[in-house]
Symmetry: C2
Amino acid sequence: MKKKRATITDIARELNISPSTVSRALHDHPAINVKTKKAVVALAKKLNYHPNLQALNLLRKRTNTIGVIVPEITSYFFSAVINGIQHLFNPLGYNVIIAQSNESFAEECQIIDTLMAIQVDGFLISPSFQTTRYDKLKKIVDSHIPLVIFDRDCAGIKVDKVFVDEYQGAFQAVDYLAKSGCRRIAHIAGPASLSTSKHRLRGYLDALRENNMDINEDFIISCKGFLPEHGIKPVRRLLNFPEIPDGIFAFNDGVAIGAMSVIKDKGIRIPEDISVIGFDDDPHSSYFKPSLTTVMQPTYELGLLSARILNNRINEESPSALRLETLFPELLVRGSSRKK
Amino acid sequence: MKKKRATITDIARELNISPSTVSRALHDHPAINVKTKKAVVALAKKLNYHPNLQALNLLRKRTNTIGVIVPEITSYFFSAVINGIQHLFNPLGYNVIIAQSNESFAEECQIIDTLMAIQVDGFLISPSFQTTRYDKLKKIVDSHIPLVIFDRDCAGIKVDKVFVDEYQGAFQAVDYLAKSGCRRIAHIAGPASLSTSKHRLRGYLDALRENNMDINEDFIISCKGFLPEHGIKPVRRLLNFPEIPDGIFAFNDGVAIGAMSVIKDKGIRIPEDISVIGFDDDPHSSYFKPSLTTVMQPTYELGLLSARILNNRINEESPSALRLETLFPELLVRGSSRKK
DNA sequence: CTGTTAGCGCTTTCAG
DNA sequence: CTGAAAGCGCTAACAG
């Protein structure tokens, strides 16, 4: 029962002119009679004409669609990155399709296939933490579809990449803990396969060394996810040691919050007995008691810059050098850590 | 420099047969020689053939694209709803385009125009809280494009709708406060234009009446947003009254958390002096001290059901009756409220 | 200034 | 069982 949309041919027929003339009239073509042009434009408005983008895309061999693959969107981090991405692409008339891998390698592969089938003009991907084989990503590269990898690295894939300097962020956090008097600093690390986990771990280790502190393997415990619940087990283990830590650098705010909860329940004081620092600056973090000291990542800028690079790549005439961009995080000192 | 994708004509040429035969072979057409079919399928695989969906869509006059418009995606509520939506549509091969109005009427209108221009097959919309004129939505209806409105109502628009029973949720919460001994229950209400605000307010008022409690207009204060920061001012005003409330029902978890923060800073005890209840069950809420009592909404189901209804509408042969579905919320009693 | 033609990739009659 | 032709909506030569 759908009323058919007016086409260029409808207008042409009604005005007894050819479709191409209509097309020209609608596009401010230089060679066109002002009168016919006016007539066409008027009728187009009257019929509520809108060009059929499908037809255009078919003609131009592009889809005007960008495929974004993120592990999930319910976390603040990725939803904020998406804001940055949409902020660039929406005004440009691109359709941004957002897909979630749910941290599953299989789902990620599946999504890539689907998005390649619909022929997206470009990809923006932050891989799942299961992703250690990069065949699918290589397939994208081999198909000459522009791809920008952001936040999480895939070593060996030669594409544009945008990251946050995780190492710096972690170093700052742990260095701060050390300088504020912590002597036994633990780390609740992220999943080992993740590039971000590795860099934060390195930052942690280097900050300890820099401050002439011993490294205690027992004090490095991985979490299995990024929510408060995933911080519970690791912190319980830490609190069971005869000598418990007096500082904890958590992989992100989520697990930091889970950890704080357990610590407080045990009657241990934050930050007097244990300082806690997270990563991400989730909007909730400053409302906990004490408010969580954290490493703020420029999420919006991360999305925006990745999008901008992809857009350049899509529209460039001749191939330019690959880009590797790094954004800088910032330590936000709040109540969960002692003063230096 | 992009290598062209193989088309049906490429296959036809290589095999010296016609494109139509190739098409048939690829679609298990009954009238087709087994041999040619095998040859075609083999070559298709070899050339890594994928049908051009643009061409198909042009032919079928559909786009396989669903437009989802939400106020924002950084809140847990809407991102969880989106999960439900994608869970239905992705396996069906639809492209789900997610757009954010940022609670702006102008942006919402703009997005609708864009999505209509790309001819989405259907809309899933939760309007901004500024949206009080429904011309654009009517335009969608008039264009016979299926539309499902969810979570936030637009009275007067005749389309499929899926809501949560906000009234029930609010009533339960406030009734619980009353039964647990609160005598001066305040409400931090949502923006007045929002249907959900109105229903929660009604639930609040009715629960007070039901419990024979006076209604104090001073104790109903609207917030200007949904984040913790938006709970600060309202709760400050409440705490400045000579007789402060002993129970607060907040529009959502965000403002409840902001409110709790102020209350604790003043040295007022939760729940002994003031009980606090939120709405939404944000994943962080149970990690605050005390953990936040809240009204859990079936977010995922909300998205899933809305999507299912839209999908039915898109694919139905003949128009069926409009649907109005209501899902039920559940009060989760935690530490921020006293025992009954 | 305007019409004709061809074609983007695919399916679907209609003839063989 | 297979091919030719038409057409989805649009644009871009190429002629006038």
